[in-house]
Symmetry: C2
Subunit: 204 residues, 2 copies
């Protein structure tokens, strides 16, 4: 029998994980700005000192969540782009999946893009972001005549998807249930438009 049962102290098999879950729920409720260590501790049922045995500071907890966000995006986008062989359709599927991720995993989206974590001091975070980028580049590479052009294509498609995801989050397109599907379609279509433009008028 583990010590916490007889001691009466709170003890978790994985407090680190529970703190992350609590923090994520907090971000979901109050936005990226609303996250605090005090409230996270309270929700996890531990004292304010406990988290500091698992995370160096507030930023470290946020960075851990942001890295998880990139890994989850990686997982989702890999799955979404696997459905087709056609590069244009694959990147359109990515653009749609991007919007869906922002909508369905709002908290993870926020920690990755709206909480201002100092990326440079958290290599795990940089790596996760890089891995995501590296997974997408081969798709646009098949649509572009050079590495630079492939980068340009990916960036423009991702930027458009990001913008649409933000607008969707602000209820710019209404609140009916089919709004998400419509925004996904908008994002996919924009990706196709950008690809078509790049094919017609190559630059780099």
């Amino acid at each position: 029998m583990p010590s916490h049962v007889k001691s009466g102290r709170y003890h978790h098999g994985d407090l680190r994980r529970e703190l992350e879950e609590a923090a994520l729920a907090l971000v979901a409720e109050r936005g990226p700005r609303g996250f605090t260590m005090v409230e996270t501790s309270r929700r996890a049922g531990v004292s304010v000192a406990a988290p500091y045995k698992h995370f160096a500071d507030r930023d470290a907890l946020l960075a851990s969540l942001a890295a998880r966000s990139f890994r989850e995006q990686h997982r989702r986008f890999t799955a979404a782009t696997a459905a087709s062989e056609d590069p244009a359709e694959r990147i359109a599927a990515f653009a749609a999946a991007y919007v869906r991720f922002a909508a369905e995993e709002a908290a993870l989206f926020d920690v990755a893009f709206c909480a201002d974590v100092d990326k440079s001091s958290h290599p795990e975070l940089t790596e996760a972001g890089q891995a995501l980028f590296d997974a997408l580049m081969p798709i646009t590479r098949r649509l572009a005549p050079s590495e630079e052009a492939a980068f340009d294509l990916l960036i423009r498609i991702a930027a458009a998807a990001h913008g649409l995801a933000l607008l969707h989050r602000q209820n710019m397109f209404g609140t009916t249930p089919d709004t998400l599907a419509a925004t996904e379609a908008r994002s996919a279509r924009t990706a196709r438009d950008i690809v078509a433009g790049a094919m017609d008028r190559p630059t780099a």
Copy 2:
């Protein structure tokens, strides 16, 4: 001679304005989250109580700045789109000007889009945003077969410009002096691609 000179008290011809300037400088230095009433007061050289004679609360000051941001965008985009008669070129000019605004007036950009002001409770803000939207819609209306299609077109172009502006701000494209021009070109090109796609394959 105004009373403040003989009284020795601090007094400004327009403290309200000076507070806004100080707040904007603060946002420029510390980001939208770094804005506080205390520090704004200090920079304006007045006590912490003084601002509350000009703004109901923190949110009211932010909302006033956000409204100014939309008015400045309106001014800039009107100027940028006036250079051409061709609707496609006009909206491409808007897309470029959007990126430039985000880069050159970073603080105004941030208060409008990154500080979370409660828009609904500040009609001045809603109005300024609406006026901006209304100024742009006629341009895409001439490129689309319906009001809905014109909205779709404008939204997608603005979303792409917004995404690119954010990426530019994160130094995603490097820090050389010509980076801004390159991002403006990317944004303009993306706008043209989206217009071309809409013309080829109309939807609504």
